[in-house]
Symmetry: C2
Subunit: 559 residues, 2 copies
């Protein structure tokens, strides 16, 4: 790092989240925050939320003795109280611990102990989960119960407990918010890796601040926007849109607890409140689109931008939203280790404006898009670390650094398998083209290495699943005597109706060279899955590991 003449004339004002929320409260005191509790809709304002944040901060210090540096867990849905805690806990100098209620109680106990959380805020509906982990907790000194019911009606085995509403009511709304050093940890979120224990990422205030401002710049968030908070607030700060909305004085909608069955409830809420911003995965947006198709009168979401992450959005989904509602689905890419925004596929690179047909433009939108400023992406050979060309063809591991990319996991020594030359290794295999567009083709561990070339298992799977009679398809690399690995496909057909292999190959011809075709397509009853429902590729490879090791090896006819 090069130091030049040090600027002494800029003051050392710190980048922290108190600045974000205070900005909203000072300039947009009457902007609405709407929250759903049970099936009831409540409304209050930034001014009122900030007053409660002050009460919470006073409660933490005066009644719990919380000090800067303490870690405080939260077990809650996307609620108004969760929103208040997002600014109140870190505003005192303490650190929030995001507790993922979808992971196993065993992992959740591990996360709580590993982060040394002192207290846990628990929504009443999650008491059974808190009770399940409580006996295993080593550092937690008490639980704050969040409920609309009075404490006399709360039944729980947890102890000691504090009743959130009754306790904060005793406190003043005036709190002397300190200037928090920007390198203080704002919150911690643990990855839910499929292998090994969850790993902790501790985000700093500076990191959150920069991520917020830049997300605002790239999505164009402003005070007349209305955000529906869909991504769980226990996942990487709900992907950061909550902070952007607060910074800009947007209206915020907190839908509380909802499940896949509540799609119609969500859409109705979006319609009624004229939502213009949301983030979610195709798993959320696809059922939404199905529901919208059933509506006589299509909703007008022409001012809306919906961020879609987690997996590649189908073109039909993006077009469907655009054509039926006017909404823009924006593909974005990131991970817990990246706060999460890495890249976004929103405005078309002007160099391509006149070069692509409309169809090609839609197809391009499936890519992960252009990195946002400050994010330095390097495409690397996973074995040697050597940088690969940005030619849209070379497949390598996506390695990242930048002001909000993690440089280490909490209390785990930095290893070269996770970090190399200051870059975090994402484990994703991808390409970058000459216009900067990033495309993820696979997980590094799943990519198929055939005769020195790489084949994307995901692309093959998506193509096979494009057949109307295919229910599921998985492609894995099987060790091969001559080619190192060769692709093998397992296919489950809909209602067990047979699908001629030729029809599948016809689909493949459109997108792949012949040498990339699976050597075999096996029709099976079921595909082995992991506990969280993903294809268990490790097990599948194991089942077929000897298939191509001897030439002329026989394929088992049934699983």
């Amino acid at each position: 790092m090069v130091k030049g003449f040090q600027s002494t004339s800029m003051n050392d004002y710190q980048l922290n989240t108190t600045t974000l929320i205070r900005h909203a409260v000072r300039n947009f005191p009457n902007r609405e925050i709407l929250y759903r509790s049970g099936n009831q809709i409540h409304r209050y304002t930034y001014r009122e939320a900030f007053a409660r944040m002050g009460q919470i901060a006073n409660f933490l210090e005066n009644q719990l003795g919380v000090k800067p540096g303490d870690k405080i867990g939260i077990l809650d849905w996307n609620s108004a109280r969760h929103f208040e805690l997002y600014f109140a806990i870190p505003g005192t100098g303490a650190t929030m611990l995001q507790m993922n209620l979808r992971i196993s109680p065993e992992d959740l106990s591990y996360v709580t102990n590993h982060s040394e959380a002192k207290y846990i805020f628990v929504d009443e509906t999650l008491l059974p989960l808190a009770e399940a982990i409580a006996p295993h907790l080593e550092t937690v000194k008490g639980f704050i119960i969040m409920s609309d019911k009075p404490s006399s009606e709360i039944k729980t085995a947890l102890s000691p407990i504090y009743h959130f509403e009754e306790k904060i009511k005793q406190e003043s709304a005036e709190y002397d918010w300190p200037m928090i050093d920007e390198n203080t940890a704002y919150n911690a979120c643990y990855t839910s890796g499929t292998t090994g224990k969850p790993k902790g990422v501790f985000y700093s205030h500076r990191n959150i601040y920069l991520h917020t401002v830049e997300m605002g710049a790239y999505i164009g968030v402003n005070c007349d926007d209305t955000l529906l908070v869909i991504v769980p607030m226990f996942h990487a700060q709900s992907w950061g849109l909550v902070h952007v909305a607060a910074m800009m004085g947007s209206k915020i909608i907190l839908p509380g607890r909802f499940t896949a069955e509540d799609t119609s409830v969500l859409v109705d809420l979006m319609l009624q409140e004229k939502v213009t911003l949301a983030a979610g995965s195709p798993a959320i947006f696809l059922p939404m689109l199905h529901y919208i198709r059933t509506l006589e009168e299509k909703p007008d979401f022409s001012k809306a931008r919906f961020l879609s992450g987690a997996s590649e959005p189908p073109v039909s989904m993006m077009r469907g939203f655009k054509e039926l509602t006017g909404a823009e689905i924006i593909h974005a890419y990131g991970a817990t280790e990246t706060t999460p925004l890495v890249s976004i596929n929103y405005r078309l690179n002007p160099s391509l404006q006149n070069k692509l047909t409309e169809e090609e433009k839609w197809d391009l939108r499936r890519k992960q898009g252009l990195p946002v400023t400050g994010i330095d992406i390097k495409l690397c050979d996973p074995d040697t670390g050597e940088e690969l060309p940005r030619d849209g063809k070379s497949i390598g591991e996506i390695c990242l650094r930048g002001p909000w990319i993690t440089g280490a996991y909490h209390n785990i020594p930095v290893s070269e398998s996770q970090f190399r030359d200051g870059y975090w290794r994402s484990g994703d295999a991808g390409t970058i083209d000459e216009n900067g567009y990033l495309k993820i083709v696979d997980r590094i561990k799943d990519v198929i290495k055939s005769g020195g070339e790489w084949i994307s298992s995901i692309d093959l799977e998506n193509t096979l699943m494009g057949h109307e009679n295919v229910a599921e398809a998985v492609v894995v690399g099987i060790p091969h005597a001559k080619w190192q690995e060769r692709p093998l496909a397992l296919v489950v057909t809909k209602d067990r109706n047979p699908v001629p292999r030729e029809e599948l190959e016809e689909l493949l011809y459109d997108h792949f060279a012949k040498w990339q075709f699976p050597d075999d397509i096996l029709f099976v009853e079921e595909i082995p899955k992991t506990s969280v429902g993903k294809f268990n590729k490790k097990e599948i490879v194991k089942l077929y590991e000897n298939l191509y090791l001897q030439e002329g090896g026989k394929i088992p006819s049934e699983l």
Copy 2:
């Protein structure tokens, strides 16, 4: 400042301007940069500009021996070379010195010596100015001449000289851009205060980076924008839009040298290149509007946002642009000490959406608007420093802090007249209303203190100048035996046609209470001005200082 648990997991990637330009070059290599040299239009790309930046950086190090921490001056218009220097000089760890070619040679020499500049880049057309100051320079070791002519045709008394194009041609475009520590000074700009010596503000890379990202968020700049760089690049980084455009991969137009007479040239350029972004003052936009009125076919600027600063934009100008061209004139407020963005009047605070008539909305746009996130504005009693209420009525001094507000002047001890409690004192008198809107009413030193109340001289002047036969009007506070001060107006009428005092008073009745009216309105031939053309209020007060000290004091009938 409170330090909590220090986040160790975020890496210490630095915020610097190399990141901004590299982002553009990687993702938008073929985006165009257009520049005007003489009357010729040239075009090249970000990729080509970046290659030249590499050559310049190598030239600085290899041929001039420039080291991190050195200060390097620039005397140039808004040129392509100036743009390249914006990233090349600070990219090596050296600091740019913005040299304002409008200030006196004496002040310019002072600025160069005070900042200890080692080299100066000079555009050929500015050689006479460089030659005028050269004998007084104490630290400068050489001059780099920027010209399209070969060195054999350059005649100058400067020595030693280096011919920019010939020298950089000898260098490789490959330069190993270092990671610059974010607290390194990116550039220095000196205020052109009317009293005393210019004072230096040294901006850090961090400061510029944050300002860039946030300006992008608030104005909504993106890759399909086209920026015309109007604000001189020697004024507070041309107000920062150059950096935002580079960060986003916008097209950039550098118009070279132009004067007020070139209005039609600028507008034609805007039309031809479909400009969507620019910044300037009403002194630039008013003649533009006059020219546009003369055009048969009105230009379509419906995608354009033009930032207007320096003074309050007349509503007629904002409406004129909107109605004739579709362009949005956005009033913004700032100063050299603030990088400069403090506040912006763009999107209407949604709380006012249904409360104001269309006329009232236009009128509101004259205000300086809402602060951007991170900028902490305090309205203070200038004498005691006590905070005043945000009620839209209380007038106080605008005091500022934030990540890009200066905390000191270069090599000048911090004094309470300039900084108080960590806030920079702007010297501007203003109000803030309950919706956060800032309004500047006067310079603190010009505000009129009458019987414990404050009267804005600027408001009175603007109202008087609203009369069709008034050419100029100035209002000053004259010491008064009973009321401390009372307003006195001097008016110059158009073509010396008399204007009845009653007509002026009628205008005042619409906006002011009777006690705020000037005690006298004097019709004069001329109003005393300073060397830069501003009303010389100090001298005017001196001329009339005894007028109201004795009751019944007489008014001189002529100046």
